[in-house]
C-alpha cells in the first residue's frame, strides 16, 4: 500500500507548538539562511545525482516492515528535502511538521542505505540536514528536545545534577565493596591510563552497569579513573535534534575533561550513538580532524582485556546466543570482528543473524528515534517487524546487543512480537561468568 507522511500524522506537543509559531515566510527565511550557511557541495551533489532508481528501498527496515514506498530512504528525501529545494523554502508549517516527523522518527540515520546506493548518497546526512532545519525552525519532538535541553543545562542527557553523579559513583562503589572489598571507582585521578565514560541513563536507571564495569576493571587491575565533574557523559541528543552548537559544547566538555585528567584514552560503555558523536561528528564541528583523545568502545576494550588475559572466564555463558550489530560501532567503526571474537570467547554457541555485520538491520531506536518518546513508540516498533523476523529466525533465546539504544529498541520489539528473548550487554555476561578472584 502506498501512503504518504500526511496519512500518518502524529500529534506531538513539541511539533504542534513549533508549527503554531510559524508562517511560510518565516519558514522560508530560516531555510534560506540554513541553506546559504550550511548547505554545501554534499547536499547539492546528493540531490542532483540521485537517479531515483529506488534501489535503496530494501535497505530501510521501515520500508521492509511496511512495504510502503513512502518509507524508502529516497522517498523520505522526496517528501522533505526535494520539496524544500523545489519551493526554495516557501513551504507550509504543516509541511514542516511532516518533515520533522519523517526526519526525527522515521529515519534512524543508520546508514544502511549507503550499502544499496550505487552513487553512495548519504541519506542519513540529508535527513540530518532536514533535522537541522527543523531545529532552526523550533519544530522538534518534545521528548528529544527536553533531552537536548538537559544536555545544555547539565552537560548530560538526563538532568543528572553535579552531586548526583558523584553520589551515584560513591554508592555503586559501596555496593560493589560488599562483593569485592578492595574495589575502587577512582575519581579524578590524574594520569590514569584511561577515563571511563558512561551515558546518563547509567547513573539514572542502569546503575548495575557502572557496578559491573567497576568490578571488571578492578578484577583486571587496570589503571583507570572517572571524572567527578560534568563532561562525564558523551551521549549527545543535541546531535540528533540538529542543535550542533550544544552538540559541540557537550563534546568539548567531554574531551576537555579527559585532557584535564591527562589520560591516554577514553574507554566508553556500551553505547552506540555516543561513540558516533565523539568519533566523527562533534569532533569535526569543533574543528578536530579526529577525536583529540582516542575513544575506545567497550567492545574493543573487552576484547583487549580478554586477549591480554587480564580477565578470564570461569565459565561460558550458556548459549546459543545471537549478536546484534549496533550501527554506530559497526557501520560506524568496524568493530564487527572484535565483537564476534568477544562473544565467542564468553558464550557457548553463536547463531548469526541474517543479514549481519555491516549489513545488519538497525534496532530502530537509534538516531534519536527512541528519545522522541511515547508518541512515536509504535512507529519504531511496527516499523521494525523485519527485525522481529530476523531475531525470530535465529531460534535463540539470548541476544547480545552492546548498545543502550539497541537494548531499548529491541526490548520493545521482543515484547511486542512475543519473541521471548532476553537481551544482554557484553558487560552483563562478562561480569556474570568471569573469574572473580578479587571477590570476597
Amino acid at each position: 500500500m502506498t501512503t504518504t507522511i500526511a496519512d500518518r500524522r502524529i500529534e506531538d506537543a513539541g511539533l504542534e507548538a513549533g508549527i503554531a509559531r510559524l508562517t511560510p515566510e518565516k519558514i522560508q527565511k530560516t531555510i534560506q539562511a540554513v541553506l546559504a550557511g550550511e548547505g554545501g557541495a554534499r547536499l547539492k551533489t546528493y540531490v542532483e545525482t540521485c537517479v531515483r532508481c529506488g534501489m535503496c528501498a530494501q535497505a530501510c527496515h521501515y520500508y521492509m516492515s511496511h512495504k510502503d514506498p513512502s518509507y524508502a530512504p529516497v522517498a523520505k528525501v522526496r517528501q522533505t528535502m526535494w520539496e524544500i529545494l523545489k519551493h526554495k523554502g516557501l513551504v507550509s508549517p504543516e509541511f514542516i511538521h511532516q518533515c520533522a516527523q519523517i526526519a526525527y522518527t522515521e529515519c534512524n540515520l543508520c546508514r544502511r542505505c549507503m550499502h544499496y546506493c550505487p552513487l553512495g548518497i548519504d541519506t542519513a546526512y540529508i535527513m540530518s540536514f532536514v533535522r537541522r532545519i527543523c531545529h532552526k525552525l523550533g519544530v522538534t519532538p518534545q521528548y528529544i528536545q527536553d533531552t537536548a535541553h538537559s544536555h545544555s543545562a547539565t552537560m548530560n542527557q538526563m538532568w543528572v545534577k553535579d552531586d548526583e553523579w558523584i553520589d551515584t559513583l560513591k554508592w555503586q562503589e559501596d555496593e560493589a565493596r560488599d562483593e569485592m572489598p578492595s574495589l575502587r571507582i577512582p575519581l579524578e585521578v590524574e594520569g590514569a591510563d584511561f577515563m571511563y565514560s558512561v551515558i546518563a541513563p547509567e547513573p539514572k536507571f542502569r546503575t548495575q552497569l557502572i557496578y559491573q564495569a567497576a568490578f571488571i576493571f578492578n578484577q583486571a587491575g587496570v589503571n583507570w579513573t572517572m571524572p567527578a565533574t560534568p563532561g562525564w557523559d558523551n551521549s549527545n541528543m543535541a546531535m540528533f535534534t540538529g542543535d550542533m552548537e550544544i552538540m559541540g559544547r557537550i563534546e568539548m566538555a567531554h574531551f576537555a575533561t579527559a585532557q584535564r585528567l591527562r589520560v591516554k584514552r577514553i574507554v566508553m560503555g556500551e553505547c552506540g550513538h555516543a561513540f558516533r558523536a565523539i568519533y566523527d561528528v562533534a569532533n569535526r564541528w569543533l574543528g578536530w580532524g579526529m577525536h583529540p583523545v582516542p575513544v575506545v568502545h567497550s567492545i574493543e576494550f573487552f576484547w583487549e582485556l580478554l586477549n591480554s588475559g587480564k580477565i578470564q572466564m570461569a565459565k561460558k555463558y550458556p548459549g546459543p546466543v545471537t549478536i546484534h550489530d549496533p550501527c554506530n560501532v559497526i557501520r560506524g567503526r568496524g568493530l564487527m570482528d572484535k565483537l564476534r571474537e568477544v562473544v565467542h570467547a564468553i558464550c557457548d554457541g553463536v547463531v548469526e543473524m541474517t543479514p549481519n555485520r555491516e549489513h545488519n538491520y538497525c534496532c530502530c531506536a537509534g538516531g534519536g528515534v527512541i528519545n522522541c518518546g511515547p508518541p512515536f513508540k509504535n512507529v519504531r516498533i511496527v516499523g521494525n517487524s523485519i527485525k522481529a523476523e530476523q531475531l525470530k529466525a535465529t531460534g535463540v533465546k539470548t541476544c547480545i546487543a552492546p548498545c543502550h539504544n539497541c537494548h531499548g529498541g529491541l526490548d520493545d520489539i521482543i515484547h511486542k512480537y512475543g519473541l521471548g528473548m532476553e537481551l544482554k550487554f557484553l558487560g552483563d555476561i562478562i561480569y556474570e561468568c568471569m573469574e572473580k578472584k578479587g571477590a570476597s
Binding site: A13, G14, A17, G37, E38, H135, K136, G138, Q142, Y143, Q145, D146, H149, S152, A153, T154, M155, K161, D162, D163, I166, D167, K170, D174, R177, P181, S182, R184, P186, L187, E188, V189, E190, G191, A228, T229, P230, D243, E245, G248, R249, M252, Q259, R262, K264, R265, L286, G287, W288, G289, M290, P292, V293, P294, G373
Partner: protein, 422 residues
C-alpha cells in the same frame, strides 16, 4: 602556583618519605598521593578498614577519621583539604579540621590564587550553592553548576536555576530558567542557558556566556546582555586593565573574539577558545584553528605558523612576553610550544607548561616510556620518576622545585636552572 622565599631552596635532592604509600595507622590501602606545594609533605587518603577513611600526611594519619574522604587537594598556601562524609553528611576538612556545617553533599573544592580562600559546592535538601571558608551562600537554588571562585577569592559565582521546571516542559525551559548568582544572589535577568561565568577581581563583576533562545548566543555582564547575537560562544574573560569583557564567538561558521562593541578579532578561525590575558591586558592569546584540523595559538589575533592536530593548556606570563601551550596528535606525540617555536622533545604525555613569573622561562612535566621527568627550555633534568607533580619556580626563577615518587620514595629536588642539561 606562587613559590615562597621561605621554602627550602638549597639545591639538592632530599627524600621526604621513604615509602610514599606508608600510613602509621593500620590500614587496608592508601590512595593516590598529593604533594604539598613546598614539597615537604606527601598526603594520601587511607582506608582504615571497616569502611573508615582518614588522611595520612607523611605517613601520619589525621586524628579524625571519616565514613568517606576523597578529593585530597593542597591549597596554594599549603593547607590540605579533603571532601569528607560523616553520618551521611558531607563537608570539607582542612588539615584535619572539618568545617562546622555539613551538607547533604559537598564537592569540588577550589582555591583562590594565593590559597587564602577555600570554596566548595554544596547541596542541601535539594538546593544548590557554594560554601566559602565554611560559610555557605545565604540563598541556595534548585540547581547550580559552572561554579567559580574569583582568583582573589573575594567572590563566587555559578549558573543557577531560578525557576522550576516540570518534566519534559520544553516551553518553560525555552522562556528561560537560568541566571548567574554572584555570592548566591542571582541576577535579575533570566536566560535559557548560562555558561562559564567569569568573575573580575576586586570588583566582583561577573560575566557569562548566555543563550537567549536556542539559537542566540551572547554574553551578559552583571545581568546585562550584549545586543549582538552570535551563533555560538565560549566563556568570557575580563581585561585585567580596563574591565572590558571579551569572548570567543561564532558567526557564519567562523570564530573570532568579540566585545560588547563587536569583533576585536575578526571571525577567521575554524575554532577559537580558551582566551587568556596577560596581567596588564596588553596580550590576549587563545587557542585557534586557522583551518580545519590544524590548531595553533593566536596572540593578539595573529596565529603562530606551526600548526598541530590538537593544542591545549595555553598559558600566558603576567608580563605577556611568554605564551606557551602544548600540542599533540591522537593524544600522543606531545610537543611544547613557546612563543611560536616548538621544543625538540616529543613525549607520550605533557602536563601543561609552567611559566616562571620572574623570568618567563618555561618548565613542563612530561612522560616518556612510563617515566615522568622535567624539561626546562627544552632541556631535561636527569632525574625521572614513576609519578611526579608539576614543577614550581623559585621566586627569583633561578631554581626549580621538582617533586616526585620513584620506586617507593617520595623526593623533593631543588634544581638550579643549570641542572637541566638533557
Amino acid at each position: 602556583m606562587q613559590a615562597d622565599q621561605a621554602w627550602d631552596w638549597e639545591p639538592g635532592a632530599r627524600t621526604v618519605l621513604e615509602d610514599a604509600t606508608a600510613c602509621a595507622a593500620p590500614h587496608e590501602w592508601t590512595e593516590e598521593p598529593e604533594a604539598s606545594p613546598d614539597g615537604e609533605r606527601l598526603a594520601a587518603v587511607a582506608n582504615l578498614g571497616d569502611g573508615r577513611f582518614t588522611v595520612c600526611v607523611n605517613a601520619e594519619p589525621w586524628e579524625t577519621d571519616f565514613e568517606k574522604a576523597w578529593y585530597l587537594r593542597f591549597s596554594p598556601d599549603g593547607r590540605l583539604t579533603a571532601v569528607t562524609m560523616e553520618d551521611g553528611m558531607w563537608t570539607v576538612s582542612v588539615d584535619g579540621e572539618s568545617w562546622e556545617e555539613s551538607f547533604d553533599f559537598a564537592w569540588g573544592t577550589t582555591f583562590s590564587a594565593d590559597g587564602g580562600v577555600i570554596a566548595a559546592c554544596i547541596q542541601s535538601e535539594g538546593t544548590y550553592g557554594m560554601i566559602v571558608d565554611g560559610t555557605p551562600w545565604e540563598t541556595l537554588h534548585e540547581n547550580a553548576n559552572n561554579f567559580r571562585l574569583a582568583a582573589d577569592g573575594l567572590h563566587t559565582a555559578a549558573a543557577v536555576q531560578v525557576k522550576s521546571l516540570g518534566q519534559a516542559d520544553i516551553a518553560t525551559f525555552q522562556q528561560g530558567i537560568f541566571s548567574v548568582a554572584v555570592d548566591g544572589e542571582p541576577w535579575d535577568a533570566i536566560f535559557v542557558n548560562c555558561f562559564d561565568p567569569a568573575i573580575e577581581q576586586k570588583t566582583g563583576r561577573a560575566a557569562a556566556t548566555i543563550r537567549r533562545s536556542l539559537y542566540d548566543y551572547s554574553v551578559a555582564v552583571d545581568g546585562k546582555a550584549w545586543d549582538a547575537a552570535y551563533d555560538c560562544a565560549w566563556g568570557p574573560v575580563f581585561h585585567p586593565g580596563n574591565g572590558q569583557v571579551l569572548a570567543p564567538v561564532r558567526k557564519k561558521g567562523l570564530w573570532g573574539m568579540a566585545g560588547d562593541a563587536g569583533f576585536v578579532w575578526n571571525p577567521a578561525f575554524i575554532q577559537c577558545h580558551h582566551p587568556q590575558f596577560s596581567a596588564d591586558g596588553a596580550t590576549l592569546a587563545a587557542i585557534v584553528a586557522p583551518s580545519f584540523g590544524k590548531f595553533t595559538v593566536a596572540v593578539n589575533a595573529a596565529p603562530w605558523s606551526a600548526t598541530f592536530p590538537v593544542v591545549t593548556d595555553l598559558r600566558v606570563s603576567p608580563d605577556g612576553r611568554t605564551v606557551a601551550a602544548q600540542a599533540s596528535n591522537d593524544n600522543a606525540a606531545f610537543r611544547v610550544l613557546v612563543n611560536g617555536s616548538v621544543w625538540p622533545g616529543v613525549y607520550d604525555m605533557a602536563y601543561g607548561p609552567v611559566i616562571c613569573p620572574a623570568t618567563g622561562q618555561v618548565a613542563v612535566r612530561v612522560e616518556k616510556d612510563g617515566r615522568q621527568a622535567f624539561v626546562l627550555g627544552g632541556k631535561a633534568h636527569p632525574e625521572t620518576f614513576d609519578r611526579a607533580f608539576n614543577p614550581i619556580f623559585s621566586p627569583d626563577g633561578a631554581k626549580v622545585l621538582l617533586r616526585g615518587i620513584s620506586g617507593k620514595a617520595y623526593k623533593r629536588i631543588v634544581a638550579p636552572v643549570s641542572a637541566f642539561t638533557g
